[in-house]
Amino acid sequence: MIFIVMAPIFIMFKYSLSDRASVVTGGAVIPLWPYEPTLEQYRGLLSADRFIGAAITSLKTALLAVIISLILGVPAAYALVRYRFPGILVLTTFLISIRFFPDIVSVVPVVEVFTPAGLVGNVAGVAAAHCLLSVPYVIFIAMGVFESIPGDLEEQAQVLGAGKITAFFTVTLPVALPGLAAAAIYVFLLSWDEFIFAYFLMAFSDLSTLPVLLRKILSWTPQHNLLAAISVLLSIPVVLFTFIVQKYMRAGATAGAVK
């Protein structure tokens, strides 16, 4: 199991360190470890303005997408859970309907709507598009989180003297944080890896996110070692972000709250 998970990561990592000779001879006899490990690819990438630019664009987009989708999704989920109203299923189905179609189908109407709104060729546009994809999931995840928190807690806070809003911010939100962190990770990953919307929305600009840049590089000289190095660099923020957010993801957040 571990082997299956680790093998591609190892291969990717190996290639990223490979010198040219190892890659070229690689076809016949794949060496387990490069002849002369080198950080040349990394050095080259990290000094290339284009790569750094794309990385920053990606990071900005992802963080913006995380923030917007949490701001939109969390209160919506809270309202849906605490103030049950009819038609909730229809509404959530409607919210998630954009994912019924392959992205390549929905991208055209999205570009069409975004263009007059000035949401093409910039980070905000791509982040907004990613939110279209992620908000329904955030709502679903957050609804699950809020459902798992007993309503008693909030009512208890009220009886002890907190208003509804204070009760939400001092009790419900902190208790929900671990679950919401999972939603944040999900949005970050979705945005960080997303290609089609980023590609179309940034088509006529100098901006590109990392997946878009990767695609551009791929289309001319697919150098295994360079690609692998990009991939490694691509996964670093994902791992970092996950680690940071995971601190909040302690299991059993509501343990001991009610009998």
């Binding site: 007993p150 008693d152 807690l153 009512e155 208890q156 806070a157 009220q158 009886v159 002890l160 003297g161 907190a162 208003g163 509804k164 204070t166 001092t170 009790v171 902190p174 208790v175 059993g252 957040a253 509501t254 343990a255 001991g256 709250a257 009610v258 009998k259």
Partner: protein
């Protein structure tokens, strides 16, 4: 520190009326207990008083002020939930400090009040723990401490002792009584444990199916229950309710239970004379049946069925011509299948109408 008044309060969930025309006044500094079987609407009544549940009809007054539309945080009513509802992301001390902080008490006061209440509830040394690292009983005490530290006008307790073991429950019971005496809060207490109700309260309110059946001092309710429901709800083992018939022979009234004939003493003659010839339900508490030949009244013979020793006393089930009866005795030598003479203390007996279940005497008063 406050008087609470329910005036014709009704609560409906959709068409389902779970609280029916509930009126009750809890006087300043009084300890009133609401008892009743599960699902009879006790928690709902507390929640309406706390402001967590809308009142369908009727009014609730605290200190003469109508509170129907006052939000919970402005009522100065503290409540301990049936589920404790401890804040899982806060330590015990933070839980207790929650209400004090919202009231913007100075830090020094908060710290000393926390210390006090940790001591009062035997929680010393647990201040830094999280609720998940506490036992059920400790959690319950934290919930109590968190509410009581606020010295609220009205304190609502929803079965606060239900999760404690027997010993701790006894201790917390007297602790509660002492706290009530010291803080002089008006306490409205919910339980379905009738012993708790009897031992703690100034007055007990017995509920059934959303209706207030009887309200009164514990002994008053115990000794003159308004109907068979109240009679059988209070007391353990419960009161014996037997099908009987009142008959007049000459100048004497008799109660006929199966083939047994029990004479009523002269002083009750007046009260029950109008029932002569009627079918009734005869109620007698287990502790009002004694074993032996001597005593007031004529002994009748019964066969011992089951003996349950409790230590100092035993609960004994006897069969009286196929009618089962429970009685309590301190005799140690009773064994099953023996035939023993028993005597009913007719002065303590209750008579209920066969159809309505109402106490015949109460109704006539």
């Amino acid at each position: 520190m406050a008087e609470v008044r329910f005036s014709h309060v009704i609560k409906k969930y959709g068409k389902n009326e779970v609280v029916k025309d509930f009126s009750l006044t809890i006087f300043n500094e009084e300890f009133v207990t609401l008892v009743g079987p599960s699902g009879c609407g006790k928690s709902t009544i507390l929640r309406m008083l706390a402001g967590l549940e809308e009142i369908t009809e009727g009014d609730i007054y605290i200190d003469g002020i109508k509170t129907n539309d006052i939000p919970p945080q402005k009522r100065d009513v503290a409540m301990v939930f049936q589920s404790y509802a401890l804040f899982p992301h806060m330590t015990v001390a933070e839980n207790i400090a929650f209400g004090l902080k919202l009231r913007r008490k100075p830090q020094r006061e908060i710290v000393s009040r926390i210390e006090e209440s940790l001591a009062l509830f035997s929680l010393r040394g647990l201040g830094e723990r999280r609720p998940r690292d506490l036992s059920g009983g400790q959690r319950q005490r934290v919930a109590l401490a968190r509410a009581l530290v606020l010295s609220p006008k009205v304190l609502l307790l929803d079965e606060p002792l239900s999760n404690l073991d027997a010993k701790l429950r006894l201790r917390m019971r007297s602790e509660l009584k002492r706290i009530h005496r010291e803080l002089r809060s008006t306490i409205f207490y919910v339980t379905h444990d009738q012993v708790e109700a009897m031992s703690l309260s100034d007055r007990v309110a017995v509920m059934n199916e959303g209706r207030l059946e009887q309200l009164g001092a514990p002994l008053e309710i115990y000794n003159s229950p308004k109907n068979t429901f109240v009679a059988s709800f209070l007391g353990s083992p419960p009161i014996n309710l037997l099908q009987a018939r009142i008959q007049k022979e000459g100048e004497t009234l008799y109660v006929n239970i199966g083939p047994c004939k029990l004479a009523l003493s002269r002083q009750f003659r007046e009260s029950y004379l109008h029932c002569a010839g009627r079918d009734i339900i005869f109620g007698i508490r287990p502790e009002h049946i004694s074993i032996g030949e001597s005593g007031k009244g004529k002994p009748i013979l019964a066969t011992v069925d089951v003996v349950e020793p409790l230590g100092d006393r035993s609960i004994i089930t006897v069969a009286l011509h196929k009618i089962e009866l429970a009685l309590i005795t301190d005799a140690q030598t009773i064994s099953p299948l023996r035939t023993i003479p028993i005597i009913f203390d007719m002065e303590k007996a209750q008579f209920f109408d066969r159809e309505s279940g109402e106490n015949i005497i109460c109704k006539n008063r």
